[in-house]
């Protein structure tokens, strides 16, 4: 490798990092100080920051209600994803008639963006009586093809002899799955938890379509509603925004490795 001076690389990357971080900073600043839209120029640094707007959010909108709804949907989606994808991924490691067709089916389902199915999906959900419900919001997200294949790969990496030994000892199949295989596939499970959490936490279009009832709205719906209802001069909107951003960011930073590996493995398979 040639030896180049390092500083130009650092300068370039610092510039890029600044562009990537400034929007976050700007919202954080506004949430702490508010903004007077008739004052030009805008203050670049927070003057007299105060947490008032963070308190205000709880009174201005049913924040707690939104939060509970988001958490319920996310928990259901994550649990369903781990169990259902784990089961399907395990099934795909076995030989059975129709396996090739099933895999082909999964792969072609991957080519159908959810957005192009919303009209009939709405009608179906309405037929199922799941409009305006947590179950209706969670159901379409309850299994993810990318994660099925991540599980399949993880299962295939487990030595066959281990499973055979357990089977010879007379361990039933379901117990093999939950006692031997699941603990050995922790990275796949972690990836699956992160991906499905982020997807359901951020999901907007689907709840927007099927939720009419205000008490059923999730955080993204509440956020977009708040934007259209409230004057955007109030810092509360941006405080709300920060409060919604933080959980997703924290979880991403904690499990960055799993998230990135899951996304890239999914992307290269698609």
């Amino acid at each position: 490798m040639h030896r180049y001076p390092r500083w130009p690389v650092h300068v370039a990357l610092l510039a890029v990092s600044t562009i990537m971080l400034v929007p976050f900073y700007w919202v954080l600043k506004t949430s702490l100080t508010g903004e007077n839209i008739f004052a030009f120029p805008p203050a670049l640094w927070p003057e007299n920051p105060h947490p008032f707007f963070y308190v205000d959010v709880w009174y201005a909108i049913p924040f707690f209600r939104y939060l509970v709804n988001s958490v319920i949907v996310s928990v259901v989606v994550v649990a369903a994803n781990v169990v259902l994808n784990g089961m399907a991924g395990y099934a795909l490691t076995r030989d059975f008639p129709g396996k090739a067709t099933t895999i082909l089916l999964f792969l072609s389902c991957m080519m159908i963006p959810f957005q192009v199915t919303i009209i009939p999906a709405y009608l179906i959900t309405s037929e199922l009586g799941l409009l305006n419900s947590h179950a209706g919001m969670a159901l379409p997200l309850s299994s993810t093809i990318v994660c099925i294949f991540i599980f399949k790969a993880a299962f295939e990496a487990i030595p066959k002899s281990l499973i055979d030994a357990a089977r010879i000892d007379g361990v039933p199949d379901w117990m093999i799955v939950f006692r031997i295989i699941m603990p050995l596939t922790k990275p796949a499970i972690a990836t699956n938890v992160i991906l499905s959490f982020i997807w359901s936490w951020n999901s907007f279009l689907w709840p927007l379509v099927i939720i009419r009832d205000e008490t059923m709205q999730t955080l993204p719906l509440g956020l977009s509603r708040f934007l259209s209802v409230v004057e955007d001069t109030t810092g509360a909107l941006y405080a709300f925004c920060v409060m919604v951003l933080v959980p997703g960011l924290v979880i991403f930073l904690l499990a960055q490795k799993e998230f990135v590996s899951g996304l890239t493995s999914g992307a290269t398979k698609g």
């Binding site: 990357l13 030009f40 399907a88 099934a91 795909l92 009209i119 009939p120 299994s143 977009s224 909107l237």
Partner: protein, 322 residues
């Protein structure tokens, strides 16, 4: 398998044992296959209900007159005719969607630059990678809110910076402007997705064996030449994968556009996906929206197929003497 002749039973009994074993085995096999399908059933059911059936239903719906209050009636190509010949908004949104997709290469080129930078062995590269990627997993609705604030006419940071630099004298109402609204939305979208492009490209860059660069350097190839002859051809699959992500992004941009502009002014920032939403769920024209959805899906499939074909071919093969 070692033959166990010494413990083998007499021929007659042996056959019986074998038959017993076979029926036992086949019963076990049937049970196993049953279990496999049982394990697959929930996922298959979800994808059938929420992917396959809707896709077919959507196709059928696009050839019908239908609304929640009246029974379906065969419409033939009526909706398609209306869409193609009488609906200017459709053409405008289609055009916007194409522009939006065509902006993907800009984002990919920027991401490639960043990926090359963070691929160098400098201190803190993991921190840089995290910072660039951090905007991707963030809730798109929040991204929309952040950016409509940055683009604010009076106190938006972007107008402030542009005025301070002397580029403009007066704040531009970006999101209310027919000229600037779509580019503004595209900027926000690139900001969000660029980290994902970078990660994909980085995976591609790291799969290139360093020996290739060393050999090329010994042969006297300059940095530019090495980039053009080694890096670019070898990361071609990653580049086209990014392009597919960019195409898909024109669907997921729904959240961003809904929040930032709501498709306006006029239809200036309406993509097909937002137009479908408002046609179906605001105007209750489900049948007509279904026809637009068919077009949107076909466009997606065609472009994804094209990208796949271009990514394939000679990708991954190292041409001798290159």
């Amino acid at each position: 398998m070692a033959p166990r002749t010494d413990t083998a039973p007499a021929p007659k009994t042996r056959r019986r044992v074998l038959e017993g074993a076979r029926t036992f085995a086949s019963r076990k096999r049937t049970r196993e296959i049953g279990l496999v399908w049982l394990f697959l059933a929930p996922s298959l059911a979800i994808f059938t209900i929420y992917r396959i059936v809707p896709l077919i239903w959507n196709g059928v719906l696009s050839f019908q007159f239908w609304s929640p209050y009246k029974p379906a009636e065969f419409a033939g190509l009526y909706h398609y005719e209306e869409m193609l010949f009488y609906d200017e908004a459709f053409w405008e949104t289609l055009w916007n969607t194409l522009i939006f997709m065509a902006s993907a290469p800009v984002g990919i080129a920027l991401a490639l630059g960043v990926a090359l930078l963070v691929d160098t062995p400098i201190r803190g590269r993991n921190t840089y990678r995290t910072i660039v990627f951090m905007s991707y997993p963030v809730m798109t609705v929040a991204v929309g809110i952040i950016w409509q604030w940055l683009f604010n006419e009076k106190v938006g940071l972007i107008n402030y910076v542009l005025i301070s630099l002397g580029v403009i004298d007066q704040g531009i109402p970006f999101l209310e402007s027919f000229t600037f609204a779509l580019p503004a939305v595209i900027v926000a979208s690139i900001w969000q997705v660029i980290g994902f492009y970078m990660i994909i490209l980085l995976t591609g860059l790291q799969s290139i064996p360093p020996s290739l660069y060393e050999a090329a350097a010994i042969d006297g190839a300059g940095a530019v030449q090495r980039f053009r002859r080694i890096t670019l051809p070898l990361i071609r699959p990653s580049l086209f994968l990014c392009f597919v992500v960019g195409i898909i992004n024109s669907f997921t941009a729904f959240d961003l556009i809904f929040v930032m502009t709501g498709g306006g002014p006029g239809h200036a920032t309406d993509l097909l996906v937002t137009y479908i939403y408002s046609t179906a769920f605001r105007l209750s024209k489900f049948d007509y929206a279904a026809a637009i959805t068919v077009v949107n899906f076909l466009l997606f499939v065609a472009l994804a197929f094209l990208a796949n074909r271009l990514a394939g071919g000679e990708a991954g093969a190292v041409k001798p003497g290159g």
